[in-house]
């Protein structure tokens, strides 16, 4: 029973209709246009681990996070939480499920209602789920504020009285208030300064140990992901191109895109490592390249890459979707 992954995502797909208005389409003789934000994404997250999704803009990482917490409806695919399918429309069962997951957002200046006192902000999930009432709420809010490193007296203040890092602590306290098992962290530190980022990352780790939390970490920063995650999924234009154990992804990248991303990380250690120049930019996701969407930038491109979408296959470190792995698999057998 405990072996069931806490979260299972299969075939998760989301299209966005980005067509011009009907009249323009008729006059300009254009087809409807769709943007594929996520295509057939599969992954599992085990209890107590931190799974990270990395990717650049247009990779679909935020869309996937939003589908998991019910902010965006999937076009296709299933999301199982603790073996139960998530149906966000309604129902008492969904209410019970909702209590068990939470989300931390990127921008601490937008994620707290400026007109609410901090105490009300943190108490909102407690009230919505009816976890406590009356004076117990205030006591719980005070306790949560202390858990995240603020003081109980801060409940009376408004968000604008706090710095970015303190606001992110308040957002974390709010996420913890419904006593969730699973927290989706969407770029939780990318709006913060590095010294504050360190405080928040350390806090997230401490809380994970203390409450046995499971994290889905969305980030564009490979160093942050390397520091926090057990396993990492790499996204490119809405597709999962590689998934691997966190340590091995950095030492043995399987997919050429992963390798390219690693090369692009600035070398702070000044080891003299000469970075390979990265070429090209991310294509327009409305008209993605044929076959493997990475082929126009891939240094190892062969003919088949331009025609067929590569299947995901098992690698020594996890999984990856690349025709080259397929061929080497064929030739070695």
């Amino acid at each position: 029973m405990t072996d069931t992954p806490l979260l299972q995502v299969s075939g998760l797909t989301r299209y966005f209709d980005v067509s011009k208005p009907w009249l323009n389409r008729v006059l300009e003789r254009e087809e409807k246009q769709f943007l594929t934000a996520a295509a057939d994404v599969d992954f599992e997250i085990k209890r107590g681990e931190t799974f990270a999704l990395v990717g650049e803009s247009g990779s679909g990482k935020s869309t996937i996070a939003k589908m998991i917490v019910g902010l965006v409806d999937p076009s296709r695919g299933r999301i199982l939480f603790d073996g139960q399918e998530m149906r966000f429309e309604q129902g008492a069962a969904m209410r019970q499920l909702r209590r068990r997951f939470q989300m931390i957002f990127q921008d601490p200046f937008a994620s707290l209602n400026p007109r609410w006192r901090v105490g009300s902000i943190i108490a909102e999930p407690i009230r919505t789920f009816g976890i406590a009432s009356g004076a117990d709420i205030n006591r719980e809010v005070g306790r949560l504020l202390e858990v995240v490193g603020l003081s109980a007296a801060d409940a009376e203040k408004f968000p604008h009285e706090f710095s970015g890092g303190q606001r992110q602590r308040i957002a974390i306290a709010r996420a913890l208030s419904s006593k969730p098992e699973f927290i989706v962290c969407d770029e939780p530190t990318s709006a913060l300064d590095v010294s504050v980022q360190a405080q928040i990352l350390n806090l997230m780790r401490d809380l994970q140990d203390e409450f046995g939390l499971t994290y889905l970490l969305i980030s564009h920063d490979l160093s942050v992901v390397r520091h926090m995650a057990n396993r990492i999924g790499v996204l490119y234009l809405g597709r999962l191109v590689e998934e691997a154990d966190a340590k091995r992804l950095f030492t043995e990248p399987q997919h050429p895109y992963t390798r390219m991303l690693l090369d692009a990380v600035p070398d702070l250690a000044l080891s003299g490592r000469r970075r390979k120049p990265v070429t090209g930019e991310i294509p327009n996701p409305i008209t993605p390249p044929s076959g493997c969407t990475f082929h126009p930038r891939c240094p190892l491109v062969v003919d088949i890459c331009k025609q067929q979408v590569p299947a995901v296959r098992t690698t020594p470190t996890g999984r990856a979707a690349c025709h080259l792995l397929e061929e080497s698999a064929l030739s070695s057998s």
Partner: protein, 313 residues
């Protein structure tokens, strides 16, 4: 360097006085004068029964012999002196202005409240729900904007008169007026609220509420509404001036409140009949009051708009 920074005051009033908006108010002489003028006029209207030297609507206290008394001059027959003179029926102009302003302000406030409630509700729904609901509401708003609002109010007024039995018409006139002005002004509120709602609903604090499954009505009322009220207040202030003018216009055209309960507009209508026969005061003083009221409220709205606009700060 630390002594440069004054300690922040404590207490509810102290904090309000210290706030940026209060500071910007103190720094703007126009806003202060406009606020004082509006306040005097509003207080005068509210406490008209206490302040007014005469009750102009009590037929028993009227003496037709007092009619057409010029300001500050004793009446030829009775010897009574009136600050601002009297009208054709011998009513004290100062008293009628106080009572008239009372009606004008009541209609203005009520119409703004009505337009605001309607506009905010529809704007919140259109902005949050989006899709066809939004398209429908906004097309209705667009169509309404193609009519001059005074024409629309006349139309509503006319239609309402057709439905109300003659016996109730006088009593209902003021409410019909409020609905007519309110219905012709809701579009502005709806548009502004819709725009602000579309911005706010994508902010992360709203998403955080959606993640825990908070009910949409609760999200709209408790999260989004308080954050879209700033621009609404600005429109409401300017809208008050507009509503007062609209009421005056309708009453001037004779479709507003009945002459037994005259508003400033009605007084002006009565007064303009005597302008060229020498009794200028019957027209002039109500007109000045209307002008002062509309202008000061409008200036206050302009200041509020600038003070709340973060780009200008």
């Amino acid at each position: 360097m630390t002594e440069l920074h004054k300690p922040r005051p404590t207490g509810r009033f102290g904090r309000a006085w210290d706030s940026d908006i209060a500071y910007s108010f103190r720094q703007s002489p126009v806003a202060v004068v406009a606020a004082v003028v509006s306040l005097i006029l509003i207080l005068g209207a509210v406490f008209a029964p206490l302040i007014a030297p005469y009750d102009p609507f009590n037929p028993a206290s009227l003496n037709l012999m007092d009619g057409f008394t010029p300001p500050m001059e004793p009446n030829a027959f009775t010897g009574n002196v009136y600050w601002l003179g009297t009208d054709n029926q011998g009513r004290d102009v100062f008293s009628t202005i106080l009572y008239g302003a009372r009606i004008s302000l009541f209609v203005g406030f009520a119409a703004v409240l009505f337009a605001m409630t309607l506009g905010i509700t529809l704007g919140l729904i259109a902005g949050y729900r989006g899709g066809w609901v939004d398209s429908l509401l906004m097309r209705v708003a667009d169509v309404q904007l193609t009519f001059p609002s005074i024409l629309l109010a006349l139309l509503i007024f006319g239609v309402a008169r057709g439905f109300i039995p003659p016996a109730y018409r006088e009593a209902m006139a003021i409410w019909v007026l409020i609905v007519a002005i309110g219905l012709s002004e809701w579009v502005q509120y709806a548009r502004v609220v819709r725009g602000a709602t579309m911005v706010e609903k994508n902010k992360e604090y709203v998403q955080a509420a959606r993640v825990i499954g908070a009910h949409p009505v609760k999200i709209l009322l408790r999260h989004i509404l308080p954050n879209v009220m700033g621009p609404v207040l600005v429109i409401a202030t300017i809208g008050l001036a507009l509503a007062i003018i609209a009421e005056a216009t309708l009453s001037f055209l004779g479709v507003g409140v009945p002459p037994t309960q005259p508003s400033l507009g009605t007084l002006i209508r009565i007064g303009q009949q005597y302008l060229f026969s020498g009794e200028w005061w019957i027209l002039l003083f109500p007109s000045i009051t209307l002008l002062a009221l509309a202008l000061s409220v409008n200036l206050l709205g302009d200041w509020l708009r600038d003070a709340l606009n973060p780009r200008l700060r």
